[in-house]
Amino acid sequence: MSVRLLAFAGARDAIGAAELALSLTEPTTARSLLARLCREHPALAPYESSIRLAVNGTYAAWEDPIHDGDEVALIPPVAGG
């Protein structure tokens, strides 16, 4: 199963890409997906507790499951206004 990952602002700089295709081989939640990304991209790790995940355009709860085909976004602290 695969998901499309979007990264914005500082999170995009940390992983070096605005968009990635991720393959998931085991049941994954929002929390475990972020943990995996922080392992694979050490530059992201210091920010793990500050980043939220959105799934298909809505903030996810940490225990929410990730499904095949989801659009998952890394949301660093927002700064609109």
Binding site: P46, E48, P77, G81
Partner: protein
């Protein structure tokens, strides 16, 4: 009424949208790019958004705050903004000023807390994402 645009934004369409015969008070908040942040000079702010979600989140916020008496509108600009440019406008109308002020305040506060928009400050000391340095885990500080 929710707008997310690369173009300059003005208050008139928002005022027109919230205007009601029953609304005796209209409160307006205009967020403008200022020339410094925490003592650093700012020459340019580069706004970016996760566009579909930013629009959806602004719609959700307006939906949560709207009542039979309170009408809301918001416009946010993204792209490269210079000092003095308007970044965001919030408008709220209500029968009386107390509700209008309160709703306008809630609207801008929720937008700043929830809407996936980011800005990169440019100044003589370089460019960086607002809030990102502070987002580093406290245990990871080395300098």
């Amino acid at each position: 009424m929710v707008t997310l645009t690369d173009e300059p934004i003005t208050i008139d369409p928002l005022l027109a949208h919230v205007s009601r015969p029953s609304a005796g008070g209209v409160a307006l908040f205009v967020g403008v790019v200022r020339d410094q942040a925490e003592g650093r000079a700012v020459t340019l702010l580069e706004y970016e958004a996760y566009r579909p979600m930013a629009l959806a989140e602004m719609e959700r916020i307006v939906g949560e705050l709207r009542t039979d008496d309170v009408t809301l509108a918001v416009a946010h600009r993204i792209g490269a903004l210079r000092v003095g440019d308007t970044a965001v406008i919030c408008a709220a109308s209500a029968p009386h000023r107390e509700e209008a002020f309160a709703a306008c305040r809630r609207l801008i506060d929720e937008i700043k807390a929830r809407v996936p928009i980011w800005k990169r400050e440019h100044g003589p000391e370089g460019a960086y994402w607002v809030g990102w340095r502070d987002a580093r885990c406290a245990h990871e500080h080395h300098s």
